[in-house]
Amino acid sequence: MADRLGLLLRHALLLGGAAVMLAPFVLMLSISLKPPGEIFAPEFRLLPLQWAAVENYTAAFTKVPLLRFLLNGFIVTFCIFVAQAVTALPMAYALAKLRWRGRDTAFLLVLAALLVPPQVPAIPLYIALWQLDLLNTYAAIILPSTISVFGIFLMRQFFRTVPDDLIAAARMDGLGEFAIVWRIMLPTAAPALAAFGCLSFIWNWNEFFWPYIAVQDEHLMTPPLGIAFFSNAEAGTNWGALMAAATVTTAPLAIAFLLASRAFVRGVTMTGIK
């Protein structure tokens, strides 16, 4: 009896916590459906008396190029992930499975680079891109993220668990080291790569700091930048449309997360506990 009561109490606490964690998402959706008059009503209602969803979402897509922001988000996150995977996989393989002079130094460099927060290189990168006349381009947003030392580290840890026999057999079959990376290691690494892909997607979709510095042109803005731009332009007057835009921006991530929450969580926990 005491056990059942305890379990009930624990569920009550967890549910209360979950309600707080989810409240902002519920509020966001709720406001995005309401006309201005109901948003500031003293009594909160989940659903509007008079629906304004069409007006709000139409305003979100027409007052700012929201579709363009989303497209930019996909272009940027896709290019970044491809570049990160193409550079990280071979290096991780070389670090995990090959014997070469300089390997320990190279791994130390990876560990050192892991300690550098992404905001630290901002000023020199800005100067370099300015001199190359590349500010305010897709390249400006993408280039600094083309390397992920975290990805290298993660894939190296994973490759170390791949049996050496598999690689020896591939060599017997006459495969070169490059072919081994792409034809043997890549398929075995699919789960780890998927976990890394999820993390890379969240980070770069949500990244605000660097695009905020590197891009001013409305047509190059990524979703977070676009939302900030919209919020500035509206200055708190059009909450319904702003929350509609926020919903649309958050939706791809939320959907991806709900579909692949296992891969997300695995990716996060792989980072350090081991």
Binding site: L14, G102, I123, P144, A246, A254, A256, I273
Partner: protein, 300 residues
């Protein structure tokens, strides 16, 4: 090691292949991360502003100027308060949530998804929702305070509460991350330790926590504190979109000051010096983490 690799056949070919495979990543790592990090350090000892033709050596001039700059001290103080409030709250609540989630059988997947969703969502968009949560009349936070008879205010516009309001958003965002990392740590604790404790006749929930869970969770705890502290030091998005460092510099934090100086006022070298201060604090957290984990490994 070098001897052995020299002996086995094809060692040279293997080394060449390894270098070729590692080269693109090594180059990019230097160009995008390590090189610029060194450049920031060097820049911080110059007097250069973006666009100027001449660059002169300034020694520690920028750092002396920082020491005299009340905005910088305010910014550093605010950042430390922000970290000091959000880290214990995030870690404490995250640990509590992890213990609770691990202790219930059903609903784990739901709770994990609910608590982790803020980590995966766009902070910038959610910050705007929080602005509404903090609305001085209809916001949920305001209504909750009113409901239990506590005084309310315009949370984000009041210099006394603005920084704490931002810390609340930070806690909300990172709590799920701490929870997920703690769950992984909890699952790594061998079951037999609890069984051995039960054999000793001590099987209360508190005894189990005090004598097994807490000591075994040590390394995970250090790791989570370090991760959350580093993330908290990087607070920027909420400041940039909600308060812009105001009211009256009450929410001015290191990265925001750095962006203002380095990119808005184009005082590049001065911005670089602030970046170096930021980097030093981040590295200090990692050093502390390593020392703590080392000591545990030796004496723990």
């Amino acid at each position: 090691m070098a001897d052995r690799s020299a002996r086995h056949p094809g060692a040279r070919a293997e080394a060449v292949a390894a270098w070729l495979l590692a080269l693109p990543a090594l180059l990019l790592m230097w160009v995008m991360l390590l090189g610029p990090a060194v450049a920031v350090l060097l820049l911080s000892f110059t007097d250069w502003n973006l666009g100027e033709p001449e660059m002169g050596w300034a020694g520690i001039g920028n750092y002396l100027q920082l020491a005299d700059d009340p905005v910088f001290w305010q910014s550093l103080r605010n950042t430390l308060i922000y970290v000091g409030v959000s880290v214990p709250m995030t870690v404490g609540l995250g640990l509590g949530a992890a213990l609770l989630v691990e202790s219930v059988g059903r609903g784990r997947a739901f709770y994990r998804a609910a608590y982790f969703l803020p980590v995966a969502s766009t902070l910038l968009a959610m910050a705007l929702v929080w602005e509404f949560m903090f609305h001085p009349t209809v916001g949920f936070v305001t209504q909750a305070f009113r409901a239990i008879g506590l005084p309310t205010t315009d949370w984000l516009q009041n210099p006394d509460t603005a920084l704490l309001a931002l810390a609340v958003i930070g806690i909300w965002q990172n709590l799920g991350l701490a929870m997920v990392l703690f769950v992984a740590g909890l699952q790594g604790i061998p079951r037999d330790l609890y069984e051995a404790l039960a054999m000793d006749g001590a099987d209360g929930a508190w005894e189990r926590f005090r004598r097994v869970t807490w000591p075994m969770l040590g390394p995970a705890l250090v790791f989570v504190v370090a991760i959350i502290a580093i993330r908290s030091f990087q607070v920027f998005d909420t400041v940039a979109v909600l308060t812009e460092g105001g009211p009256n510099k009450a929410t001015e934090v290191l990265l925001h000051t750095m962006v203002q100086e380095g990119f808005r006022f184009l005082r590049t070298a001065y911005g670089a010096a602030i970046t170096v201060v930021f980097l030093v604090f981040t590295l200090a957290i990692t050093v502390a983490q390593t020392v703590l984990l080392d000591r545990r490994a030796h004496y723990g």
